[in-house]
Every structure is written in structure tokens, then in C-alpha cells.
């Protein structure tokens, strides 16, 4: 980590009356990062974003942007610009006037403003839309206008409050990629608030997961998915099976795991999280795609177990099976890619489940 | 931001109202005001039959007017909300236009319509429906009721219309789906849900009606005079402002309590229907 993050949030608390929205948040966001605040609704992520923007003041703690404490500095004097969830396009102004709105306050000539506006519109692929009025735009176009309006201000940080939630699925997926590419080309720090874990994984350099006003984990998408710090984060990001387990210390510093549902396995010292005594382990996690149904007699895996298929959900490219594993009450989800020549396993079929030591997620 | 209008309302409304209340406990000594606190005015208002009669008559008239106005307005509001599909705004506009003429003139024109040689009588006689002019329609209670029912029509229609508009149409479909016929559906779903609007229009019409004095003076004759006319006389010719103030307060208290009863009854009705 560098010494001077663009955003440094120090022990921030925020209360609305009796409701505590943020309970001591510490966060450092680096210059040029695409950073996401991810969490269920009501977790405080939007409050945190609005606090960076200057729409809320912390009850205690400090927000530091670019090395300067922001206490008492209103939104219109901060080097941040926001893309609102509702886009907040001024309905009485044209696209150009919307984008140029903030430039009117800067000492610029008319032609300079026009040029900046055109550049910004080009950046978001809206060349030629300048004279349209706001209500003639589609949802995706409004979103682009809102983005251009923020970018034209050349802020140090762009704040995005669930900017894609109003779009339909196809458009949303396209915008996720475009937004990511745009951020990489302009190099400005983006902070995205979202409740959609998939969106956060696709777009971000790093993600902070928030629950009930507290940060649970800050990590890259891969780390977050593969090494969630606790069961709550694990089940919020993707699907996770939780299985009973018992652990013993091994001589080489690793762990010996006994998982009644699957069998026994040894975890190497390198794969074991630090400060995790064997005695504290009673459950482990397994992602559905880390378990395999062994279709052929000849298929073999590092470890094998047996189960009975209870049900299947067909997703087109994937099929999610509910499998009854030995000595477990809850059903375990196993996902299989629907490759050529593979048919769906009928309920009641006995199957062999393949897995390995690297399938297992340990929680500290 | 609330302070300028609040300050204005305090100075221009609260202070004067407080003043009226104080006034009503004072008394008039020919040209001077006697500022000793006394209940004399209220005693006089209650004991002299003329005042009691006028207050009760005003209440009676305003209740009648309200009943007629709201009953007449409801089908109109229903029509606007459920039958008019397009141009609702135009219909609303159409209904409000007559009310942007001078109130005085509208009342006066009713006098012209209802008079002995008036429009109605001359038209009906011309058509041979009646032989001699009807006299029971001017300078009495009927005239006051008709005129006021006309004057307050939009104030009764609009609140009912708004509450009918707010009814989720799928509720009506649900009622029908569950086997209610049009009449049962109307009484079990539409009317209870429209009740807030009906209560609102009842109050909006009833309270100001008590205070009207143009209509009774122009079309009411002696039988149609109301308490406001007396209040005006006390402040004017009779030069007894304290008595006028007491009469005003007394009538407001009575109307206020009647409104409260109606309001609570409406709440109760709505609560039961739900």
C-alpha cells in the first residue's frame, strides 16, 4: 500500500437518531482504483458514499480526500463527483447543458465549455446527442449523460451509487464492461456502491464488503471469492456449501480434516490461514463448482465421496444439483457445466462426488 | 424556511383570533370599551332568542347545504373518476370555470333565476307548466340552500374525486372476482375507500358556509338570515363589537364541535369498513 491513499476513512461513525448506520469504518482507497462498496441494502454503503461526496457528515471520525480532511467542506467544494442512482438528469436542460452544468462555475469561455462537453460526450459514446432533451433519452443513455457530467468536472474521484440497477440485464452487463474500460482509460478513481456481488466482482480492483455498518472484508475479487473471511461473506458472494468438520494439527504444520460428508483430507501448511488453531474449526465451506459429479466409471479425483441426487435446476449452460451427502441433513449444491453428450442426472441416482484439498475453504 | 409564513400566520391569524377571544369577554359602553372581564356577552347570546335562533338556523342551513352539496357532488366525482377516460383535466377545468366569476355576482344571478319574475318562473310559465310564479323558491331557506350548494360545488367534487382516483382499480376487480355485484362492490369497496374524500368535502363545505353572509342577505329574506349577518350588524350599525365577537366565537365553537363529531364518525365508519 502506498503512503498517500486518495481516500482515507478513519474510524467513521454515523448515527441517524437511534439508528447507527456506520460503526467505526476504516478504509483506504488508492489513486486510480476501481473500488466497490458491496453489501445488502441498509448496510451503510450508500451512507459511506454520500459521506465521501459531502452530503452527510460523520458523527465522529474523519474523511480525508487527497490528504485533506473534509470536515465541514460541503459537496460543492470537494474534488468528487457523483453519478446518482436515479441519474438526476436536469429535466429542463438539454444533454449539452446537463453535461456543461458544472463548468459554468469555472472560469471558462463558451467555446472551451463546448469543447469540454463534446469531449465528455465522445468519451461516453454520445456524440451528436447534445441537443436532445433529457426525456428523449433511454435509460442507458441517461446513465451515460450522468457519467459524462461527472467526468467533465475532472474530479479526483467519481462516485457511483448503484448506477446500473435501473437497467435491464443485457444492457447492465454491457455497461459493466464499458464502465470498467472507461475507468481504465481515464485513470480516475471510481468508487461504486452496489448490492450485486457479480457486478462488483466483474468491475472492481478491490471490494469492501459491508454488513450492518461494519466492514467485513476488503480484498480483490479473487481473494474475496476464494478466501472469504467468514461464513457470512462466503454466502453473500456466490453460493457456498457449509459442511461439518473436525480438524487436527499435523506434524508438518498443516491440518488434518475429517469431513463426515466427504471424507478425510490433509491441508498443507501453505494453504492454511494463519492464526487458525485446529480446535476452532467446526465447519468448512465448499463452492458448488469445486465439487464434481464423476459420470464415468473411469473418472477419478483426488478425493471421492458418494451421494444421492435429490433434485436438479437447469440453467442452460450449467445444471445445479442438490445432492444428499452422507451424515449431513442439509442438501449440498453441486454445479456441473452442460458439456456435449452429458445428460441431466435423474433424481434418486446414486453418484460419486469428486473433490480435493483445494476445494475446501477454511474460515478464521 | 418555515419561519416567514409561520410568523405571518402568527401575527395575522393567531394574534387577531386571540384578540377576538379577549374582546368577547369585554363589553361595550356606548362609545367606550369596558375592559373588565365578563361573561355578559355569552349570557346575552344564549338568553336572547334572536341570537339562539340565528345560531341554530345557521347550523341547520349549513348542515342541509352540506348534505345537498355532497350528495349532488358524489355522482359527479364518480363520473369524472370512473367514466371519463381521456381529458379528465379538461372536465375538471370545465367544472371550475363558473367559479372564477365574482361570488357576489353568482349569488345575485341566483336571485335573478329564482325571483318572482325570474328566469325560472318566466320560463316555466312560458312553457305552460305553471300558471302563476312559484314563490317558495326565493327569499327563504330553499333559495339559500340552492345558492350555496351551487357556490360550493367544486369544493365538494374535488376532494371526492381525488380520493376516488386514488382507489387501486385492481381492488375493484378483485371484489368483482370474489363475487360482488356492482352494488355490493360499491358499498363494500368504493364507498369506504372514498370516505376520506367525502369527510374532507363535508368539512370544507360546512365550516365556511356557517360564516357566509352574502347569500342569506341577497336571497334569504328574513327567514334566511344567518348568524353572520348578525355579527356584521354588531360590528357595523349596532356598534357592539364585543357582542359580535362573542357571537362569532360561540358559532365557531358549535361548528367546530359538529365538525369534530363528523370527523370522528367518518374515521369510525372507515375503520369498521376495513
Amino acid at each position: 500500500m502506498t503512503q498517500n491513499p486518495i481516500i482515507d476513512i478513519k474510524n467513521v461513525h454515523k448515527s441517524f437518531g437511534k439508528v447507527e448506520a456506520l460503526k467505526g469504518v476504516n478504509l483506504r482507497i488508492e489513486e486510480g482504483e476501481f473500488f466497490s462498496l458491496l453489501g445488502p441494502s441498509g448496510c451503510g454503503k450508500t451512507t459511506l458514499l454520500r459521506m465521501i461526496a459531502g452530503f452527510e457528515e460523520p458523527t465522529s471520525g474523519a474523511v480525508i480526500i487527497g490528504g485533506e480532511p473534509m470536515m465541514g467542506i460541503p459537496a460543492n467544494k470537494r474534488p468528487t463527483n457523483m453519478v446518482f442512482q436515479s441519474y438526476a438528469i436536469f429535466p429542463h436542460l438539454s444533454v449539452s447543458d446537463n453535461v456543461g452544468y458544472g463548468l459554468a462555475k469555472k472560469k471558462m469561455s463558451r467555446s472551451e465549455i463546448a469543447e469540454e462537453v463534446n469531449n465528455a460526450l465522445a468519451m461516453v459514446d454520445l456524440v451528436g446527442y447534445g441537443d436532445r432533451s433529457a426525456h428523449e433519452l433511454s435509460g442507458g443513455q441517461r446513465q451515460r449523460v450522468a457519467l459524462a457530467r461527472a467526468l467533465v468536472m475532472k474530479p479526483r474521484v467519481v462516485l457511483l451509487d448503484e448506477p446500473l440497477s435501473a437497467l435491464d440485464k443485457k444492457l447492465r452487463e454491457q455497461m459493466q464492461i464499458e464502465l470498467r474500460e472507461l475507468q481504465q482509460s481515464v485513470g480516475i478513481t471510481f468508487i461504486l456502491v452496489t448490492h450485486d456481488q457479480e457486478e462488483a466482482l466483474i468491475m472492481s480492483d478491490r471490494i469492501a464488503v459491508l454488513f450492518e455498518g461494519e466492514i467485513a472484508q476488503v480484498a480483490t475479487p479473487q481473494t474475496l471469492y476464494q478466501q472469504p473471511v467468514n461464513e457470512r461473506v462466503a454466502s453473500f458472494i456466490g453460493v457456498m456449501n457449509f459442511l461439518q468438520a473436525q480438524a487436527t494439527e499435523s506434524a508438518d504444520g498443516g491440518l488434518g480434516l475429517e469431513i463426515p460428508a466427504l471424507g478425510d483430507v490433509a491441508i498443507a501448511k501453505a494453504a492454511r490461514p494463519e492464526d487458525l488453531p485446529a480446535a476452532s474449526i467446526d465447519r468448512i465451506g465448499v463452492r458448488p463448482e469445486m465439487l464434481t459429479i464423476l459420470f464415468d466409471e473411469s473418472d477419478h479425483a483426488e478425493c471421492e465421496s458418494e451421494g444421492v441426487v435429490v433434485g436438479a435446476s437447469y440453467y442452460g449452460d450449467m445444471t445445479y444439483y442438490s445432492v444428499q451427502l452422507p451424515e449431513t441433513e442439509e442438501l449440498t449444491t453441486v454445479s456441473m457445466r452442460n458439456t456435449a453428450g452429458r445428460s441431466i442426472v435423474a433424481s434418486g441416482t446414486k453418484v460419486r462426488i469428486g473433490w480435493g484439498a483445494d476445494s475446501i475453504v477454511l474460515f478464521s | 424556511m418555515i419561519s416567514p409564513p409561520l410568523l405571518y400566520a402568527l401575527i395575522m391569524l393567531a394574534a387577531p383570533l386571540a384578540m377576538v377571544v379577549t374582546f368577547s369577554f369585554w363589553s361595550q359602553n356606548y362609545l367606550d370599551l369596558d375592559t373588565t372581564i365578563t361573561l355578559k356577552n355569552y349570557k346575552e347570546a344564549w338568553s336572547k332568542p334572536i341570537y339562539r335562533v340565528l345560531i341554530l338556523r345557521s347550523l341547520n342551513i349549513s348542515i342541509m347545504v352540506t348534505l345537498v352539496t355532497v350528495l349532488l357532488a358524489f355522482p359527479m366525482a364518480y363520473f369524472l373518476s370512473f367514466r371519463v377516460k381521456r381529458n379528465k383535466a379538461l372536465w375538471l377545468f370545465l367544472i371550475t370555470i363558473p367559479f372564477w366569476t365574482s361570488y357576489l355576482l353568482r349569488v345575485f344571478l341566483w336571485k335573478v333565476i329564482l325571483g318572482y319574475n325570474g328566469v325560472l318562473n318566466s320560463a316555466l310559465m312560458g312553457l305552460g307548466i305553471i300558471d302563476e310564479p312559484m314563490t317558495f323558491i326565493l327569499y327563504n331557506l330553499n333559495a339559500v340552500v340552492i345558492t350555496l350548494a351551487h357556490a360550493w360545488a367544486p369544493f365538494a367534487i374535488l376532494p371526492i374525486f381525488v380520493s376516488l382516483e386514488r382507489i387501486d382499480r385492481s381492488l375493484l376487480e378483485a371484489a368483482e372476482d370474489l363475487g360482488d355485484g356492482p352494488f355490493r362492490r360499491f358499498f363494500r369497496v368504493t364507498l369506504p375507500l372514498a370516505m376520506p374524500g367525502v369527510i374532507a368535502s363535508t368539512l370544507i363545505v360546512m365550516i365556511p358556509t356557517v360564516g357566509d353572509f352574502i347569500t342569506p342577505k341577497l336571497v334569504g329574506g328574513t327567514d334566511g338570515l344567518m348568524i353572520s349577518n348578525m355579527i356584521q350588524i354588531q360590528f357595523g350599525k349596532a356598534n357592539n363589537a364585543p357582542l359580535g365577537a362573542a357571537l362569532a366565537i360561540a358559532s365557531m365553537v358549535i361548528v367546530g364541535s359538529v365538525s369534530l363529531v363528523i370527523f370522528i364518525a367518518g374515521r369510525w365508519f372507515r375503520g369498521r369498513a376495513q
Binding site: A53, H92 | M76, G211
Partner: protein
């Protein structure tokens, strides 16, 4: 037969037609008698004339009354719209202690009989020894007009996305600049409605003006004084006709303006009600 069948099938429409006829009955008479030659306001009509209008133009007392009413109307409209804007914005946007009580208090004149308002103000002014003038009438009119203004403008403010203000601040604009560049243009239709309605209410208001006016009478007070003289009635009819045409013009203008700006903003112009929501 056909008629009865039509009536039974469309009874609601029939009722609506009759009701509208009832609403328009007195208004229709105004122009009829304004152009009628006879001095007596009764049927049958005797012939066409415009002389009652000429009479109007010669009456200096009327001109003075019109002038007073216009001054009172304009000042009332402006003051009550400003106060209404403040109250509506505070009501919609902010929470503050005793909000319900304060708001109902400001809206109270809406249901208070005008005679009470008039009498109360008169008593206060008498006690303070304040001379009656057009300013006392304005004071009373603003009081009864503010609730209308608040009602109209609060629906205008409710339609305003809070994010728009925040977006403006976020883009570096000041609070006042945000009001000028974003809020005001967006509530302008409401402001114009409010100005028109409060002006019209003030122009028509009689009871408060009757009690609070000094020697400077307003138009309705003038009309009231004329109603006593049968000979003056036809010209009063002519005056009423002119007023009717003027208010309808004003209202149509206001409605047209509201629809145009609603269209500009891409809203459905038919929705959101007219002047009296």
C-alpha cells in the same frame, strides 16, 4: 322509447350533463343580460345593446375600484406565493419540531369562515389604532391565499427529485445557484399557477375586503354597493361579463403554460391535475 333507453343506460352521463348545466346556469345569464337593452333583469330579452359597457367606461368610481383591486391582487399574489414557496419547501423537504401543528396552523384559513378572519383582523386593527387601507386588505388576503399557494407548490416540490439538488451541489453549484438554475425552473409552472390563483381569489374576495377596506373600495365592494340600485344592474352584468372573460383567459393561459412546461420535461401533461389539485 329510445330516449328512455339511452337515459337508463347512460344515467351517469345524463346526470353529469344536468349537473354541468346547473353549474353554468347563472354564468350563462351574465352575457345575456349584459347585452340586453332593458334595464330590468328578466326575460324576455328586449334587444341587443352595448350601452351598458359604455357606461362602465365612464364611471370613475369603478376605475378607482378596479385600480385598487389590481394593486391588492398583484401584491397579494406575489407575497402569498413567496410565503407559500417557503412553507411548501420546508414542508416537503425538511423535518422540524411541531411540523404537523405548524402546517395545519398555516392551512387553517382554508377552512375558517372568512367572516371570522375578517372580524378578527378588524378587532386587532381597531385595538392597534391602525387605519384601514388597501394594505390592511392585502394583509387579510395574503392570509387566506397562502394555504392555496402552499397546496399548489407543495405538489410542485413533491415532484422534484431530491437528487437533482444534490447533483447540482455536487457539480460545484452553491445553494442559491441551485435554486436559481434547477429548483426555480422546475417549480415555475407551480409558481405561475399559484400567482394566477391567488390573484383571482384576491380579485374576487368580498367579505374580508368589505370589513377591512377604508375609503379605497375594491371591485367586489363596489359591485356590492351597486347591487342595491336596480338601475345600475345591467352595467354590473356587463362588468361581470368582462371579469368572466378575463378570468377564463387567465386560467386558459395558465393551464396552457403548465401543459407546455410539463411536455418540455417529458411528463404526461394530462396528469397531475389542473389548478386545484
Amino acid at each position: 322509447m329510445r330516449l328512455t333507453r339511452f337515459l337508463s343506460k347512460n344515467w351517469l352521463l345524463t346526470y353529469a350533463a344536468l349537473y354541468v348545466a346547473f353549474l353554468y346556469a347563472p354564468v350563462i345569464l351574465l352575457p345575456l343580460f349584459a347585452f340586453n337593452e332593458s334595464t330590468i333583469i328578466a326575460f324576455p330579452l328586449t334587444g341587443f345593446t352595448t350601452k351598458w359597457f359604455t357606461v362602465l367606461f365612464e364611471s370613475t368610481a369603478l376605475h378607482q375600484a378596479v385600480k385598487n383591486s389590481l394593486i391588492i391582487g398583484v401584491v397579494t399574489a406575489v407575497l402569498s406565493t413567496i410565503l407559500g414557496t417557503c412553507a411548501a419547501r420546508a414542508m416537503v423537504r425538511f423535518g422540524f419540531p411541531f411540523k404537523r401543528g405548524i402546517v395545519s396552523f398555516i392551512m387553517l384559513p382554508l377552512v375558517l369562515p372568512e367572516i371570522i378572519v375578517a372580524v378578527a383582523l378588524l378587532v386587532l386593527l381597531m385595538q392597534l389604532g391602525f387605519p384601514l387601507s388597501i394594505w390592511t386588505v392585502i394583509g387579510g388576503h395574503v392570509l387566506i391565499c397562502v394555504p392555496f399557494s402552499v397546496a399548489i407548490l407543495s405538489s410542485a416540490f413533491q415532484g422534484l427529485d431530491k437528487n437533482l439538488e444534490e447533483a447540482s451541489l455536487d457539480l460545484g453549484e452553491t445553494g442559491w445557484g441551485t435554486f436559481r438554475r434547477v429548483i426555480f425552473p422546475l417549480i415555475l409552472p407551480g409558481v405561475i399557477s399559484s400567482l394566477l390563483i391567488t390573484f383571482t381569489i384576491s380579485l374576487d374576495e368580498f367579505i374580508i375586503a368589505f370589513f377591512l377596506t377604508g375609503t379605497d373600495v375594491t371591485l367586489p365592494v363596489y359591485i356590492w354597493s351597486q347591487l342595491r340600485f336596480p338601475a345600475k344592474l345591467p352595467s354590473v352584468m356587463a362588468l361581470g361579463t368582462i371579469l368572466l372573460v378575463l378570468s377564463v383567459l387567465l386560467l386558459v393561459l395558465g393551464e396552457w403554460f403548465r401543459r407546455r412546461s410539463a411536455k418540455q420535461q417529458g411528463l404526461d401533461p394530462a396528469s397531475g391535475g389542473g389548478f386545484m389539485q
